[in-house]
Amino acid sequence: MTFIDVTRPGTKQKSGNLHIISKTIREIEDIFMRLGFEVAEGPEVEDEWHNFDALNVPKNHPARDMQDTFWIKGVDKTVLRTHTSGVQNRAMMAKKNPPIRVIAPGRVFRNENTDATHEAQFHQCEGLMVGESISMANLKGILLEFLKNFFDNDEVNLRLRPGYFPFVEPGMEVDVTCTTCGGNDAVCNVCKGSGWIEVLGAGMVHPHVLASAGIDSKKYQGFAFGMGIERLIMLRYGVDDIRDFYDGDIPFIKQF
């Protein structure tokens, strides 16, 4: 009988990998689709109205400075979108009537100097849910389901704090239990001992935003939220430099 050495390494098969940003977006899409959300997309070059006005960001107001904006030359009032929130208005217009459950992942841009935690481009995923009685308790319910699934951990909890985004009122920041130390390490370098990490912004959709999409804000209400994809990945895997995402380096892409 021929001797077969079963300890020899199997023949290497050629296979590549998706970028971790795509993988993460897919994961987020899949969780939200199970929760009944559709995936929408919109242009990366937006008109000022969709990026700011329709979202209740006042003209000539410091609220517009919260997002440093790239403007396009030669075309009036046109920007590289600073968030995927512009898709909110488009999605509501397309649906005409609630119920609306939609998420919009995509690339966004900020006119900021680049360093380990800042890139002029990054990815966001926004979500929107509108109906007759969609409340803040529902916002908390949906986000908790998402975070438990995403971090694959039933013990994960979330914490809402007041925040400010002109397109929501009330607006809030969402913290998740520190996934590194679970809140049990006073010198944890991820949560700095607080036990919490900020991962999302959220709030109840401002009536002006509903009205700009022709939705009756007396009858309908809902919530919106948004998260930074790179930030989630950096927290999850300990990636320490956001610029690594765009280097096209196979040893980076291969690992995830």
Binding site: P99, N111, E169, Q221
Partner: protein
Amino acid sequence: MNFSYNWLQDHFDTTLPTPNELGVSVGLHSFELEGTEEAPHGDTLIDWDVLPNRSSDALCYQGVAREIGAVLDIPYKQWSFAGVADATFDDSFKTSDFITLSVDDLGLVKRATKRLALDVQVGPSPTWLVERLEAIGQKSINNVVDITNYVMWETGQPVHAFDFDKLAGEQNTKQVDIRLATSDELVTDLTGAEHVLTSDMLVIADSEKALDIAGVKGGLGSGVDENTTRVMLSACSFDFQNIRNTARRLKLHTDASKRFENEVPLNKIDHAMQQFAYLMQELAGARVSSEIVDTNPGLPEQKPINVSVSTTNRILGLELARDEIVNKLERIGCIVSEGEEEFTVTPPFERLDMTFAGDAIEEIGRLYGYENLDAVLPSEGFVLPQISLLQKGMRAASDRLVALGFYEAKTRTLGASGTVELLNPLTKKAGLLRDHLVGDLLAKADKNLMHSDEPRLFEIGKIFTGITDGVIDEQWNFAGVIGKRKIKEKNKQDHFLQTKGVVESVCEAMGIIDLVFRADTTHDSVAKVMLGEVEIGCIGVNWWELNFSNMIKSVNHTVSYNKPSRFPKIDRDVAVFVPVEKTVKEVHNLISNLLPDETQSCELFDVFEKEDKKSFAFRMVFQSDTETLSDEWANNVMNPIYKALEKEGYEIR
């Protein structure tokens, strides 16, 4: 903003929780806690991020003290020390006898106030004041300047002290104008820097010249020094957009401009003037006139907001009783009307952010504590989510590529090539929006040659090809690269076929069937890629770049099922020598036209060149659904093919 813990404590009779506890409590209910740090004089700084919606009321100690009172539900004191509220001032002289104030544009200058102080003794500040200012990183200058600084941090209203005797005019009567600057008017600020103003910027001027840039920075010539004895106290309020534009254009962002551009509520002038005048008497021995020259005394009426118990509960997802709601609103200083289900809420004057029911509901919710909300999944109608063609197409294409050994790269949208340009790029190298993907991918593949012999990369991303009728042309593109150290001329055909095979495989995975390659050697490419008659991009020796938006439109998932035959297959080969310039397609077409319905496939399996001719070898597979095909049957199919090939002058091998 960094707040001194000791200074905050000045607003409370009860002892506040520790700086860390206080930081967290306010952080959970009001402003994000950025951190705490030790400060001089045994103080601690608490850094809360006060966002634009609360900048009108809370970029100051009075505002944050009120907030702390509401969050902890403890009484707070508006004034950091006793005596301010009921202070009395000098009736023996009138400000208006000394100062005439005029304002050009009441739309831009919402309110201006001046007040005269005599017998001022400029000197060092008392220890407590030095400590408060030094704790927050401010340098003590002299008592008068320190008072103006203290009053701004305390009330959020910037104030200024002018040396009355440095103003142009008669010894005891001065004219002060708040007006638009003349074009190119110069102002030297108190640090000595010179600014050239434009005619839409506001200045405070005497009868001869501009003294300072209104709302932004004080001037050099009119400031208080050790010889000053008469001081004009000044507190004004301006149009926030105007100050914002001035500060941006002069690139002069000051503590004052930060407050003004967030709109300072008009009543803060009253608070500031009261405290300013009181401290001038107490700390600088001054006599301050009881008369304030005021362009706009009296405050506009506060608009009440309609709130209902049911809306509040519907938004928050709670079941709060009226009393619980009212209690929270009163804690932040609102006045709530009668009414069980519906009532009106009049916010405190400083809360410019509170304009509609949602704002009031936010106050109720955050004081109730978002942490106390239950997490409840919605019970409303569920609609099955649709999966978009783009989402399907992207997943199908990238999954196939990964299986074929490709890595997905994400390259930058902004770079040095493209046709659509940014107005305000970060750097020249990142001033254009990409109009293709493959250039960057080729560069990245080259870099990866240090890790891999044949790095395979792809990307699906947006590109921007131009501007049509004022709209940017934006589309999804799809590009890939098979990196090579060197491409030898003789290997180009093989490399090309490898690349083409990948594109065909991806299209197959996506459900795209009518893919055609048409020779084209412009733009360094080898072929145009067509979907039917629509050109969707091009393919080179070791790369491709295609319009993904168009590909998505051609996806066809219809399947026409054929029951597999129970009868055996039979195959035949034919090999011919043809002239070198003949293409596979020409010969293949000739054969295909003569094939019967039983043909399963007719594929090229070998090509070689010999001197001035080349050989193509095709294999045909036949199978019937109804019978076993005989050799004789096959020969009858092949004979006409051989004849047709010979008729063309091809030599059958």
